[in-house]
Every structure is written in structure tokens, then in C-alpha cells.
Amino acid sequence: MIYLDYSATTPPDSRVLEAYQIFNQEYFGNPNSNHELGILAKHQIEKASKEIKEILRAENYEVIYTSGATEANNLALKGYALANQDKGKHIITSPYEHSSVTTVLNYLAKNGYEIDVLDTNKQGLVDLNELRNLLRSDTILVSIAMVNSELGIVQDFETIKEILSEHEHVVFHSDMTQAIGKLAIDLKGLDLVTLSAHKIYGLKGIGALLRKTSINLEPVIHGGKSNSFFRGGTPPAPLMNSLAVALRFAYKDFNKKIEHIKGLNEYLRDRLAEIKHCVINYKDGIPQILNVSFLDLAAEHMHHELSKRKIYVSTQTACNSENSFSHTVKRVTNSNERASTSIRISLSHLTKKQEIDEFIDACKEILNENR
């Protein structure tokens, strides 16, 4: 098997799995219980939250554990919009958001909120002048993903933060699912931050919303007094702890891992250049993601043929009714042909050069067979 779909999900780190198992055995008490075992589990959650905040330098935030990024995005957007509707109903976003942001914003639009979607320039970056012009007294929220999952576009957060710093009434949320663990990040200027464990070699079923403590939210899942007022339910303590462990190891030997991935990315580009009618759809993204189009073959066909050979990549589903057309690629390249033939290859520190070679050989073989 050759796995080149690390932006979709990652295999859990064995140290995360081990920590999860040990935690389940040693701290199985309900953290909401008042007896010693419950208190012990609760203390372990507090330790995990402390570690997450230390790693992300997020001292002024609460870690609200969720089932993943989708729930965190729901809580950030619905939670903030509903709790602050007396301040306004205007929200600004980017066109490159994950469907868990888009769907919530469509839901809010149906319920009387006004949503503006920013235009983008040729580099795929959101139009900052438009952002400046759109901000108004009833704007309550700006939600922009730092890294786009399909092309790896990194938005200019320094300038966005600078613009928003002049509008103190506007809260800034970012879905950082594709950024945390892949980039060195600075949370300064951010009020709400979404993250997910399974994108950083952690477990599925756990994520978090970092909430700056001054930000008020309406809970999406109401429940009894629990780990957070903003999220009901018995805290899944072993999963919560596993998020901290995943984050710890995601940033361990970080520079070394990034250098390895950068090298692979360059090698992949060199090898792809050997293939006729293969184009790179975005050249300046994060090194972990490379989106390419094999113009001679529909994306779903290439995806299927690779999958038959046990090579796993992604096609994208954005604003389309079939899974072969990438709205994001169309937006950046202005080409239907590229959008219909695009494949996302996502790399990891675990990826080997030999796997790239085998992937390239398979692509050549598939394209030859289909000529």
C-alpha cells in the first residue's frame, strides 16, 4: 500500500495509541464523578488541556473538546452567531472553507444572517481590500481557514489580523485543521480556533475549539455540568488526553520532518514533470499538499485506477454534485479541464522517496493504458 492522502487523515502514532490504552486502564473513572477515581480522571484532563495550551501558546484560551473539527466549527459559528445576534448578523468568510463551515453558514443564512464570501486573487489569497470594505458595525464574525485542504493555500494571516485589529467588535475564527501540526502557528489575534486530532496522527473522534476566554458562545450540545459549560456530555477523557499526546509528537522534531517533506515535494514535482499533460494546480501551498491535474484522464478514473493498485490519493468534493469536479481548482486556475482532472497528493514525514517513484510509475502506466 502507498498512502498519499495524509490531509484526509493520518495513521495514529503508536505512542498515541499506547497512551490511549494506558489511560483507559488507569483513569477510566467518569471525570464528572466526585469520588477519587473521577477526580483523578478530571485532573488528567486538566493536565492535557495545560499541555495543549503550552504547545500552542494559548494561555488565554479554554480548550473545549469536541468530537472533531466539524463539531468545533459548528460550535464556533453557530455558537457565536446565536449568542451575539444582538450585536449584528453579518459574517464574512472565504471561498475555501471546509464543508463543515460552508454548511453552517448556509444554515445561518437561512436563519436571517447575512454572509459575505470574499473574492480571491490569482494567487488564491482572499481579497484584503474587499475584507476592509466589507467590515461594518454589525459584522460579528470573520471565519477564514488558514490553510485550504485541497490546494494547501496559506492565507496572509498577518495582514488579516492587522485589519481585524482595527475592528475590535469583530471576532476572528479560523479552522486550523490543516495548519496545526503542519506549520508553526501563532494564535495571536485569533478568538476561536478549530483543530482535529486525526489530521496529526491522533485518533478519530476528538478535536477541540480553542475559545479565547472573553468570547461568549451558545452551546450547540447542551448538557449537565461537565468539562466545559459550552459542551455537554460525559468527557471522553482518554480521547482528550490522546489529543494532547498527538499534538506533543506532531511538533516533536518538527523542523526535521518539514525538511523531509519539502524534499519529497520537490522530488515529486521533478518526477511529475516527466508526465505529459500533467500540471501543478498551485505552486505555493504548504509542502504537505500538492494538487495536480492529469489532463488526459478524469479525476475519478485516475483515482479509481490508483486505488486498484493500492495507491491512495484524493479527488475533491467541494461545490459539486459529483466527486470529479473541484470548485477550488476551478476558482484558482479558471479551468474546467483542470477542475475535472485534479488529484490531491498529500505527503507526510512517513512518506518515502520510493513510494513517490512507485506512484509516478503507476500514473504513467494508467495514462498509457488509457491513451
Binding site: 468568510t93 460552508t102 453558514l105 448556509n106 443564512a109 447575512e114 464570501v117 461545490c319 469536479f325
Partner: protein, 89 residues
């Protein structure tokens, strides 16, 4: 004139177009809009053979399909399309 408008909750272009539609269709009191959700109204939209890209607007005149407006359009472009359709009356 009648427009069947097919959108989806996960569709960013549909979200982006909401504001444009509000502004443009406010100018045309003679256009009846019928909204369908791509995922919820599967039976109702089956007859329209919806393509790959959303949103899709199907324009009918006297119950005859005359045009499909697919994907994101600028306000100017949408006005232009609707004006042309009105001129051919």
C-alpha cells in the same frame, strides 16, 4: 417566467450567490423562484438532470425550459442574462 433553483447546504458557490440573487431578483417581480435542495429534494429534481456544478438555475418561459444558469455569476452578468431573456419575450 419561472426559475427552478437547485442549491446545496455544502455548496460555497450557493452561499456566495445568495446576496447577488437577493439584489438581482428584487428587480424582477415577474420571476417566480422555486427552490430545491440537491440532497433533500432528490425526487423532485430527478426530472431536471442536474449537472456537476451547483448552483443550477433552470429558466422556464411558458413552462418550456429556455436556459440553464450554472455556477457563480456576477451581479452584472446575472442582470445581463435576465435582461436578454426578457428581451426575447
Amino acid at each position: 417566467m419561472k426559475i427552478v433553483r437547485v442549491t446545496a447546504m455544502w455548496c460555497m458557490s450557493c452561499l456566495a450567490m445568495k446576496k447577488v440573487w437577493k439584489q438581482v431578483f428584487a428587480e424582477y417581480s415577474d420571476i417566480e423562484i422555486i427552490d430545491y435542495d440537491f440532497d433533500m429534494d432528490t425526487q423532485a429534481i430527478e426530472q431536471y438532470n442536474i449537472g456537476k456544478i451547483l448552483p443550477e438555475l433552470i429558466v422556464f418561459k411558458d413552462n418550456i425550459e429556455v436556459k440553464r444558469i450554472v455556477g457563480e455569476k456576477s451581479k452584472t452578468n446575472l442582470f445581463q442574462i435576465l435582461e436578454e431573456l426578457h428581451e426575447t419575450n
